[in-house]
């Protein structure tokens, strides 16, 4: 079997998702048997962009003309485009202030009164600009999920999705319910599971890093949190940490 030609790269992001993949040390030899890493600047395994790819695995949000240029060229050259991680899927932490801040003010905070500010726009998910064929969520994603995806791509398919909220795995692990028992601001009911309730298992609330679960009852979660004495602003602030623009009226 011919190894897949793969591009792995990042747009506006912290490279954490790509590092997660590189940290799969036990699996890397097998992974390299399946993939020819044609373009993977972070790992310096290759930097040929002028090629056709079986898959492009792209981390990060789109927030500069350069991001856009790279994304378009990968979309045109790849059979399967994978949105890799929360930023690529939802905008992520870089987008948390999208709905409340003016881009120019943010740039000035970072670059001061420079004569020429770098060109940038509100960070957005890949799907706002191109069609996306597959996704791995998480900040960072679970190692298992990215390995599953690569294995499935090599087998000519995609892995089946997990469609339950964080609560399902959390309850099954016999964790203390932080929302009900400790009345903390936990986003478990509306956030995509698959992380095995990593945070609540150690007593930390779900921060929502994996984005909304399918058909999330956002309005009811908001009501639950308001009933527990949290302010609307605080709740929205927390919910938009990894994904701006929730529909707070959504009940299905």
């Amino acid at each position: 079997m011919r190894p897949m030609k793969v591009a792995i790269t990042g747009l506006t992001a912290c490279s954490g998702c790509q590092l997660t993949l590189l940290n799969c040390e036990d699996e890397l030899p097998e992974l390299l048997g399946l993939c020819e890493l044609v373009y993977f600047p972070l790992a310096e395994s290759g930097n040929v962009l002028d090629a056709q790819f079986d898959a492009a695995i792209v981390e990060g949000a789109v927030s500069t003309p350069k991001d856009l240029e790279l994304l378009f060229s990968l979309r045109n050259a790849a059979r399967v485009l994978v949105a890799y991680g929360t930023c690529a899927l939802f905008g992520g932490v870089a987008a948390m202030n999208n709905t409340i801040s003016c881009r120019r003010d943010l740039l000035q905070t970072v670059f001061g009164d420079a004569v020429q500010l770098p060109e940038s726009f509100a960070p957005a998910p890949l799907a706002n600009y191109v069609s996306v064929d597959a996704a791995v969520t998480g900040c960072p994603p679970e190692k298992q999920e990215i390995m599953e995806l690569v294995a499935a791509l090599a087998a000519g398919t995609l892995p089946p999705a997990r469609c339950y909220p964080v609560c399902t795995e959390c309850r099954s692990r016999e964790n203390l319910c932080l929302l009900l028992e400790k009345r903390e601001l936990c986003l478990g009911p509306v956030v995509q599971g698959g992380c095995n309730a990593r945070c609540p298992a150690t007593g930390i609330v779900c921060e929502g890093c994996r984005g909304p679960v399918r058909e999330a009852n956002v309005a009811q979660e908001l009501e639950l949190l308001l009933e527990r004495g949290f302010g609307r602003e605080e709740v929205e602030r927390r919910m938009s940490r990894f994904k701006p623009g929730w529909n707070y009226g959504q009940r299905r």
């Binding site: 294995a151 499935a152 909220p165 399902t168 309850r171 203390l176």
Partner: protein
């Protein structure tokens, strides 16, 4: 008359005897304060005054997630059931009835191999309890769906054996027991909540709409239910070229539960709640006409929005004009 009474002062020795029949598990409290069944290392960790564990003992027979098949290189092998002999001590009658129901599902007709293997190596020791505000039962009951059942008496427990294995346990512990006149046993329990008319699921009760709008589909009611057994089977290719098939608890309130290629049998949360009502209180073929609610009260205690489907069987109060 056989020795049938265990003084409370001899409970620790009795537990040691139980260890001869398998790894001993019992109700304990986790570091974060959650009641659960877990291996009992030290009798001091035993919490026999517990109300209900978050997850029922079904986890031992039907784990949340298990690998049921591995394939590759043109062949396959079934997953390991990894069953050793296990003794669960201190199970309430509702949870024992829950296991009895799962037995009907997984051991009838074509037995589920993993479940059957684990079930055959499981010894169940039940214990009497007092209902609390969440329990659906109103009085203490005794379940016969176990090997031994301990009912509380003055300074100890009256023990009844309900199986050959139970009798073997009693023989092994005979030196710890003494003879006492048996007390009148409490009612033998069964499914706690009566079977309902399937047509009720299409009633125009206003609570249907309310529940459909407030349910967050977190899955807690089903995850924590001793008789919910719906599962999903998925396959994940592995890097070595083969794949793994897993089985995982599913939930009728998830969008994917009724989803097939191109459509969904139950597209809305309301449809899913009606379906849950049907399965839980009316039963499916071949268990049609049988309620599977054993009254443990977990769904009521763990629901973040206080949904109790039983309220749908009570006619709404008429509001006088």
């Amino acid at each position: 008359m056989a020795n049938n009474f265990l003084k409370i002062s001899r409970l620790d020795q009795f537990l040691e005897t139980l260890r001869l029949f398998g790894e001993l598990h019992a109700p304990t409290v986790s570091e974060s304060g959650v009641h659960r069944f877990s291996p009992l290392e030290d009798p001091d960790e035993l919490h026999l005054d517990y109300r209900r564990t978050q997850i029922p003992p079904k986890k031992y027979l039907f784990p949340f997630r298990e690998e049921i098949l591995h394939y590759g290189g043109g062949g396959y092998r079934e997953g390991h059931s990894s069953a050793g002999d296990l003794v669960i001590f201190g199970v309430h009658s509702c949870d024992l009835e829950g296991i009895a129901y799962l037995d009907r599902v997984f051991l009838a007709d074509r037995p589920d191999p993993g479940y059957a293997a684990r079930r055959s190596r499981l010894t169940l020791v039940g214990i009497a309890c007092e209902p609390d505000d969440f329990c659906f039962c109103t009085a203490a009951t005794e379940s016969a769906s176990c090997d031994l059942f301990l009912s509380a008496g003055q300074d100890g427990y009256h023990i009844t054996s309900y199986s050959a294995r139970g009798s073997a346990l009693l023989s092994a512990a005979d030196h710890l027991l003494e003879e006492r006149a048996a007390q009148p046993s409490p009612a033998i329990s069964g499914p706690c909540y009566p079977a309902q008319d399937p047509e009720l699921r299409f009633s125009d009760h206003p609570l249907w709409q309310k529940f459909a709008s407030t349910c967050v589909s977190c899955g807690a009611c089903s995850v924590c239910c001793p008789t919910c057994y719906c599962f999903d089977v998925r396959e994940y290719p592995t890097l070595s070229g083969g794949g793994t098939r897993i089985r995982e608890w599913d939930n009728c309130l998830f969008a994917t539960h009724g989803e097939v290629a191109g459509a969904n049998f139950r597209p809305d949360r309301l449809d899913r709640l009606r379906y849950r009502f049907l399965h839980k209180y009316c039963g499916f073929t071949p268990l049609q006409g049988m309620s599977s609610c054993v009254g443990c009260g977990r769904c009521k205690e763990f629901c973040p929005v206080d949904i109790d489907l039983r309220e749908l069987t009570v006619a709404p109060e008429k509001v006088e004009p």
